[in-house]
Amino acid sequence: MAKVLMKGNEAMALAAIKGGCDAFYGYPITPQNELPEYLSKHMKENGRVFVQSESEVAAINMVYGAAGGGARVLTSSSSPGIALKQEGISYLTGAELPAVIINVMRGGPGLGGIQPSQADYKQITRGGGNGDYYLYSLAPESLQEAVNLIKESFDIADYFRNPVMIAVDGLIGQMMEPVDFDQEIPKWDLKEKTWAADGMRGKRDKNVINSLYLDPQDLEDHNYKLLDKYNEMKANHQRYELINMENAEIAIVAFGSTARIARSAIEMLEDEGINCGIIRPITIYPFPSKAFDEIPASVQDLLVVEMSTGQMIDDVKIVNEGRYPIHFYGRVGGIVPEAEEIVNKVKEIVGEK
């Protein structure tokens, strides 16, 4: 199929349909509204389910019901709405249910604004809801990558029996780009959902979808079972990209839209004779610690760039283990940093040497 020009939110919606999404439950919030609007028309056309819920809280619990019944299910929202969904996300992880959650991030805290942001990094990567759990979290930098990852995310969620978060910002949701929906994506080895509770029908004993473990030993065992899953994500499923790192003096660490802006910045720096590379986390959980083991000897400094006051910098410090000086540049309030701003920050770091 040839590339088609689509708006980000609509392209992500179509990617979900192509990923085999059976049902969507969601509640309107800017800047992701075109996504449910698109699905309200096209899910029905494809014989699938679309329900506009009464709240984000209801939406994520509808996701819980459909996922527990064995369906492939999606919800989408933006930062304050994701905050409301955290309770249900915790239950999904506790009951080991697969689901895909798209977060088109905007500035906060509170009602914040409606412009792009990456300030939900900690909400996404630290669990957000109650208890010991994590989400497999993917942060695409372009519409093509978002489409591919969303298509794959339904497999990933089923494989881990855990929700997958697609972390994009309002910029990706609102931009238009040509996208090819037929690019090959990895296939995961999936088992039949013998655990689903959708009626025994004479084929099996009863199934229970549950996150309640009143016996402390049972709950500890369950927590360690979940931990094994997160450890497997960390050991075998980190994703990242190293860009122009071969002779870089400075490595910019950035994800999503910010990484894409950093691509322009390193080209501008090259013109000025400064060799700069990019470490681009694609999974923000698990954080790609392995990328930092591949940093070449030429690198002297790391510069973290985010659309937040520095939420990812903690993870960079943890995996860096004191190996490099770490600098930071960020914009907040929904302001997207321009490539020149990153260039200036890099020049400032170089100038200080």
Partner: protein, 253 residues
């Protein structure tokens, strides 16, 4: 040897798991009715119950078919999500008054509002049972609880919510009835109401809610007998029994 005849046996809809309810609590009777109705309608094999938070939180152990445990108040949303992707399942929620009338009122109203083809089994004992007897939205005026130690004062905490009456006003609701299980006659009436609710779902006729007047001897501080008498003397006058909505009659008219 004399011939024996089985006149009563436990419903196959119930498991052998021991019930965790206090003596005199009517949850056990209501469970039995749910199990009997689904068995008699021959739908056990395609039934899925959505449990809630409260005294009945462990009911996924007590029924013999597929169950979900849902977060406090969210059972109607969970039921919606499941029913929409698996329309050939029989889906019911089992919720207490703290769960449905307080934290989950929005989910209950909107499931009715959308006309979801599900059944809500709503158990009203006028108090929070599992958490130790706090005031519920359904606590009667003057009723003493651990958070209304001087008795519920409507000036401070409002009047008790009448859920059946309220749900009956929602256009999307098909069938709403309030019943009681305080004596065998009313247990039989309650069973008829519940069976009708499940039949409505089986026939794809939409949303039904059966409100059960129930007892909480422990948190009311009464013997089981006194609790039943108290429910009859105090709850039923404020929460009158009867059919509050029956759109199946309108549909047939």
């Amino acid at each position: 040897m004399a011939k024996t005849k089985t006149v009563y046996k436990k419903s196959p809809g119930l498991s052998d798991f021991p019930l965790s309810y206090c003596p005199g609590c009517t949850h056990g009777i209501i469970h039995k009715l749910v199990a009997e109705c689904l068995t008699e309608l021959d739908v056990l094999e395609r039934s899925v119950g959505i449990g809630s938070v409260g005294c009945s939180a462990l009911n996924y152990d007590f029924f013999s078919f597929d169950m979900f445990q849902a977060a406090h108040g969210r059972a109607p949303a969970v039921a919606t999500g499941l029913k929409r992707v698996r329309p050939d399942t029989m889906v019911f929620t089992y919720q207490g008054d703290g769960d449905l009338a307080s934290i989950g009122i929005a989910e209950a109203i909107h499931a009715a509002h959308r006309g979801e083809n599900i059944t809500i089994v709503f158990v009203n004992n006028a108090i929070y049972g599992m958490t130790g007897g706090q005031m519920a939205p359904t606590t009667l005026v003057g009723q003493k609880t651990t958070t209304s130690p001087d008795g519920r004062d409507p000036k401070h905490s409002g009047f008790p919510l009448r859920i059946a009456e309220m749900m009956a006003t929602i256009p999307g609701a098909t069938y709403v009835e309030r019943v009681s299980v305080h004596n065998p006659k009313h247990v039989n009436k309650a069973k008829k109401a519940l069976k009708k609710a499940f039949e409505i779902q089986k026939n794809n006729q939409g949303f039904s809610l059966i409100e059960f007047i129930s007892t909480c001897p422990v948190n009311w501080g009464m013997t089981p007998k006194d609790a039943v008498d108290w429910a009859v003397d105090n709850m039923i006058p404020y929460y009158p029994l009867g059919v509050y909505k029956d759109r199946t009659k309108e549909d047939n008219a």
